[in-house]
């Protein structure tokens, strides 16, 4: 009903002339106004601040983080002596051995993080399948079931993994199990949505053709739906799994095990060098998994 062009009067040369604006321009203008509004409100509330001496703080942090602790494995002092003010020896540390044991702890935590991501993704991938099928528009599921499935998936997607983790730690206790369930609870929504989209993009005419031969619903599924949808599912699984690897790295912050715990410790104790080590390990983990998943997905095509 509305015309695609809106007329706006603009003053040109003293006369008012109608200017035609396309819908895209209107939307863009609206978006920019929204951003400007947010910024203005931020400034008004006094929150547009970077703290005291931000550049100095940044520089200091950069300096600390640039010397990761694992370098001490080779270059550390093998007999670092702590002395009190009056010269008494308080403690002697072998920096090399200490940092080596820390690195092995990081290795173990990485393995736990990987387990959390993998098991949580696998659980969600399976559990989301019935929900995805129910919420798809073209499989003629009863309307109330469809809405219920959509609701579950939306709630799952809205609540962040960390929040699920906090709740689950109170239910199943500290440790990786809470992490696995939290990852599963949040990615359920993503998997379900992706499955529903795959199903909705099915060529229903081809499915109807198979149905028209008198095949029963399970036959129709196994021959017309599954072979079409399965390659897409593998792609979705790799995508969400990779996302969950990243998500799992911080679950330890709330007690669900893995690297997050070490990150939390390092931050609390102001051990920036150790934090640097952990962050490097996280980057290596995520980028290598990313590269692997890209290769696998390329192989699918």
């Amino acid at each position: 009903m509305s015309s695609p062009h809106d007329r706006i009067l603009s003053p040109v040369g003293g006369m008012l002339r109608p200017v035609r604006l396309s819908r895209t321009t209107i939307w863009l203008g609206g978006y920019l106004s929204l951003v400007a509004l947010c910024l203005w409100a931020l400034i008004l509330a006094g929150d547009f601040s970077f703290g005291r001496n931000p550049w100095q703080q940044l520089w200091q942090s950069m300096v600390e983080l640039s010397r990761p602790s694992f370098l001490d494995i080779w270059f550390g002092d093998q007999a670092l002596t702590y002395r009190s003010d009056d010269g008494a020896v308080l403690r002697v540390e072998n920096r090399q051995a200490l940092e080596w044991s820390f690195l092995t702890a990081v290795g173990r935590a990485t393995w736990v993080t990987f387990q959390i991501a993998t098991l949580g993704s696998a659980l969600a991938a399976i559990a989301a399948w019935p929900l995805g099928m129910l919420s798809a528009n073209n499989l003629q599921s009863p309307i109330w079931l469809r809405l219920l499935a959509k609701l579950i998936l939306d709630v799952s997607r809205s609540i962040h993994t960390l929040v699920f983790g906090l709740i689950l730690v109170g239910i199943v206790g500290l440790g990786p199990m809470a992490g696995i369930l939290a990852i599963a609870a949040h990615s359920l929504g993503t998997y379900g949505k992706l499955y529903a989209e795959s199903i909705e993009s099915l060529d229903m005419a081809a499915v109807d053709a198979v149905r028209a031969t008198g095949a029963d619903p399970l036959q129709v599924f196994c021959t017309a739906i599954w072979p079409t949808v399965f390659p897409q599912i593998i792609g979705h699984h790799l995508y969400v799994w990779e996302f969950n690897i990243r998500d799992s790295t911080i679950l330890g912050l709330i007690g669900a095990g893995g690297l997050g715990l070490l990150i939390s410790e390092a931050v609390s104790l102001f051990q920036w060098k150790r934090l640097a080590t952990i962050l490097l390990v996280v980057v290596v983990l995520v980028t290598s998994f990313d590269a692997l998943s890209k290769r696998l997905r390329k192989g699918l095509r």
Binding site: D203, A206, V210, T213, G214, D216, Q219, T223
Partner: protein, 298 residues
């Protein structure tokens, strides 16, 4: 076998079909002609339950249904599946499953035949050797045996129509509904498929299958049918045996001169030969001058 009584189908406030009475007996070969929008496809959809009817009664293969409220299923699911297993569809709008191979697409025609393909094997897509051989020979009959293991989406439109025909031949249907089955095929392939279609209907079991085809090319009428029903704006314009149908009748239906629709040389010769072999007394071919179809004698 098929009976329509006071059938009315309304789509979007527009009456698409309005047939007082139509009866087709088992084993007949019928052609449906008419302009686009005359209701031919709607008729097929009404016969197979793809479209709800607004009034009247449809009886197909012993199953009968009338107008039902929306969202109420026409027949119980198992009954509907059983009915569909006996009706073979060769429609343009029902394509192949792209991800599967050509030969598997052909074997899908036998999904409802649990004697040839046990259900559990169909769930696993582990097809019996006998079925695979049957599918292979069906592909050979249409000349596509070299494409048996290609993915279905690599075929051209005409090849896909041939595969759809091969799939139909594995279904052992009692009623075949073909909607422009050769629209994407060249004249030679058209003749081959039409012949095969007719043979498939005739040779299926003790009672020949009923064959109803929607045709647009008058030259195909003698190959495909003994009886011609013309639809015009949802109503039956005429319903005659092919001997009584003249070119003028067809021209009236399509409202244009048919002399420009004459098919090419080779198919003329072929149709002469086939009409010799058939039991029809009046062989037909459309040549340049519009002549009454029934007066062509050789």
């Amino acid at each position: 076998m098929i009976e329509l009584q006071d059938l009315q189908v309304r789509l979007d406030q527009h009456v698409t079909l309005d047939i007082e009475h139509l009866q087709i007996m088992s084993g007949e070969s019928v052609a449906i002609v008419g302009r686009n929008g005359a209701g031919k496809t709607t008729l097929f959809k009404a016969l197979t339950g793809f479209v709800p009817i607004t009034a009247g009664r449809v009886t197909v293969l012993g199953n009968s249904w009338g107008a039902v409220a929306p969202l109420v299923p026409l027949l119980r699911a198992r009954q509907l599946r059983c009915l569909r297993a006996h009706i073979g569809l060769l429609w343009q709008a029902l394509p192949l499953v792209n991800q599967l191979s050509v030969i598997e697409n052909v074997m899908l025609g036998a999904l409802a035949r649990s004697d040839a393909l046990p259900k559990w094997r169909s769930y696993l897509r582990w097809y019996p050797e006998s079925l695979r051989e049957r599918a292979w020979s069906a592909l050979e009959a249409v000349g596509l045996q070299d494409y048996a293991h290609e993915r279905a989406d690599r075929l051209s439109g005409g090849e896909r129509q041939k595969v759809a025909f091969a799939r139909l031949s594995l279904q052992h249907a009692k009623l075949i509904l073909a909607d422009e089955p050769t629209s994407a095929l060249d004249p030679q392939a058209t003749q081959v498929i039409c012949q095969l279609l007719r043979t498939l209907a005739k040779d299926s079991g003790q009672v020949p299958a009923t064959l109803i085809t929607i045709v647009h090319q008058p030259s195909l009428l003698p190959v495909l049918a003994d009886r011609v029903i013309a639809l015009e704006q949802g109503k039956v314009a005429f319903d005659r045996s092919i001997a009584d149908v003249s070119v003028a009748d067809l021209e009236a239906v399509y409202e244009q001169s048919l002399s420009s629709d004459a098919s090419d040389g080779p198919s003329d010769g072929t149709s002469h030969r086939t009409s010799h072999e058939s039991s029809e007394q009046n062989p037909v071919s459309v040549n340049r001058e519009p002549v009454a179809l029934s007066t062509q004698l050789s």
